[in-house]
Amino acid sequence: MSTELTTRQKVEAGLARRRRKEFTFRLVGMFATAVGILFLVIFFATLLGKGSSAFSQTFLQLNVEFNEDVLAPNGELDLIYADFDGLIRTALLNELPDVSGRGERRELYRLVSIGAGYQIQEMIAQNSELMGTTQSIWVPVSANVDMLMKGNIDASLDESLRPLSDWQIGWINKLDQAGRLDKKFNTALFTNGDSREPELAGIKGATMGSFFMLVVTIALSFPIGVAAAIYLEEFAPKNRWSDLIEVNINNLAAVPSIVFGLLGLAVFINWMALPRSAPLVGGLVLTLLTLPVIIIASRAAIKAVPPSIREAALGLGASQMQVVFHHVLPLAMPGMLTGAIIGMSRALGESAPLLMIGMIAFVVDVPGSFTDPSTALPVQIYLWADSPERAFAERTSAAIIVLLGFLLLMNLTAVIIRKRMERKW
């Protein structure tokens, strides 16, 4: 009786201390979580704050006369050398007739993006009946005008401290008051390749480059990774060699990605003479990078298949191969796919190894095949972040938003695949 009391007393004496410890631990945990969430919120807020403006672009409405004398100086339509810019200039001068003198005119012309001329060229190419008519069209303004309209250039600064002159700002205000300037959705961002002019620069080239690379990567790394995982897990004898292989695969997963880039440079470009800057080589390098991830995830998924299923199939007389393909693989597939998609999203976000194989080049054309020179989304972000123009800063953020969107989409797919296949089995 007395010992029972002392036990109870001892427990009660220590109880307060235990509760206090638990409370402190909870507090620390909550603090850690809050810090994490806070940084995430700050990250997304700044990103969206900086990047969202890049999704719109200022356009100028001009009444352009498709003058036959300019377009077809020799009586025949000249789609290559015709002075399309001249049509834009004429239209601009018509809009602001007070402008006189060469200097003033030159500054006026700079308000409109050089893309405006290409726009006219394209319109004529698609529909030659426009010749001789006057059309009211919206053309993109230059990046500096766009920045002014978005409030990123302070007009109250001294003229020498800002990229737009007093004259230019005066004309812009005039056009704006006349309702000739309007912000529209920036389709160029998604339909154009890279460009020196921010208002014409887009991520299509980089996105296509990334897409081609991921196609190569998934096509190679998933089958190879899954095959390696199945062999190592189900068929390979367990001995010193398989231990060595296992350790090395785990080590490979931790190798810095730029090392894979150097390997790719040495093997694929220098030795195998594959083209530089090509998504094919990028995909091969990213395959090396994601293989260990996929092998490790697939092995874990195979290991998680209950041995009772294997025994059941073996006991019925299924061969090792049938056990694997009829039972183990279907059950392990959700885990394998999840691993593969996570590997893919890692590959999509990689830039370091791509720098080594020349995918950092300034590529204007949108790549159409696996061997066309191209760049990748993260590399494009790096390139734009490096550019001095103010307009590239917001495009950098916009490209990051797009990249994050893709990553989110891929991870979401992984979750959905896992959920759906788990329900089926």
């Binding site: 025994e311 059941a312 199939a313 006991g315 019925l316 007389g317």
Partner: protein, 306 residues
């Protein structure tokens, strides 16, 4: 010191074997589990008491030894299993009954450290010979495990799996026939015939085990091995499986591992008592349970070991 202690145990055992022992069962068990117990081999293992032979032997194990690495799990076991006969393997945990059972259709092949010596003949051919494909063997010697382990597929696909991989059915209607008759013989058809497309895992534990039996007999094996098939089931489900075994033994030889002496008494024709890897006693069930010849068997079935 060790030698003296071993001597002491030997005397202890000899006296125990001769007179009515006053030892507590646990002490007895611990004594036998001491490594270096070779002095007792002759007395305990080499000569199995009772009758290992039987009429109409279909599966014959001769001097079978199984090693898991350095662990000698089965020591020199000789046992015959007759046609249309239920043989129960009993014994305390870790005595090697499941290991022996798994030798009979080479399931031990999957354990890399396992090594089997001796001969096991199925209908006169050595199942461990090089010409014997384990896949073909397992189609002839089916196995039902302790825990019901249906595939995560439909009930139909569970039963149809064996016939499919072995190509036993020519067309769909033949396969349907095999599935239905197998479920019927496993006593499950009435309960599931309207939901053959539902997953096998949605059944109750007892139903799942009968599904596993149906899956096994769908391949039409010659011998069915059962490794404690009822240990995870309630008494009602157990009774159903036992009834089922009664029916199945009209066509198949059945070897069942069980921890329940009552079950062994109910379902089996012959009983084999294993102890520490030795086959101690084999005889007709009623003989073993009413008049065990070996002291260890008696201790076990009277509940002193186990």
């Amino acid at each position: 010191m060790v030698a003296i202690e071993q001597d002491r145990k030997v005397t202890q055992l000899k006296t125990a074997a001769m007179t009515e022992t006053t030892d507590t069962p646990t002490e007895h068990h611990v004594d036998l589990a001491v490594p270096g117990y070779h002095g007792q081999e002759v007395e305990l293992g080499r000569e199995t008491v009772g009758n290992v032979r039987c009429d109409n032997a279909f599966m014959v194990a001769e001097n079978v030894n199984v090693y898991y690495g350095d662990n000698h799990a089965i020591r020199d076991v000789t046992l015959e299993i007759g046609k249309k006969q239920v043989v129960a393997l009993i014994g305390p945990s870790g005595c090697g009954k499941s290991t022996f059972l798994r030798c009979l259709n080479r399931m031990n092949d999957t354990i890399e450290t396992a090594r089997v010596t001796g001969n096991i003949l199925l209908d006169g051919t050595d199942i461990y010979s090089k010409q014997q494909d384990p896949v073909a063997l397992r189609a002839r010697v089916g196995i039902v495990f302790q825990k019901p382990n249906p595939f995560p597929k439909s009930i139909y696909d569970n039963v149809a799996y064996g016939p499919r991989i072995h190509g036993l059915a020519g067309d769909r209607s033949e396969l349907d026939g095999i599935v239905h008759s197998s479920l019927e013989r496993a006593g499950l058809l009435k309960e599931v015939k309207d939901r053959l497309e539902e997953p096998g895992t949605s059944l109750s534990g007892g139903q799942q085990q009968r599904l596993c039996i149906a899956r096994t007999i769908a391949v039409n094996p010659e011998v069915i091995l059962m490794d404690e098939p009822c240990s995870a089931l309630d008494p009602i489900a157990t009774a159903r499986i036992e009834d089922l075994m009664d029916e199945l033994c009209e066509d198949y030889a059945i070897v069942i591992v069980t921890h329940s002496m009552q079950q062994a008494a109910r379902v089996s024709r012959r009983v084999a008592y294993f102890h520490l890897g030795y086959l101690v006693e084999v005889d007709d069930t009623d003989k073993v349970f009413t008049n065990p010849q070996h002291k260890l068997t008696e201790d076990y079935i009277t509940g002193r070991i186990g």
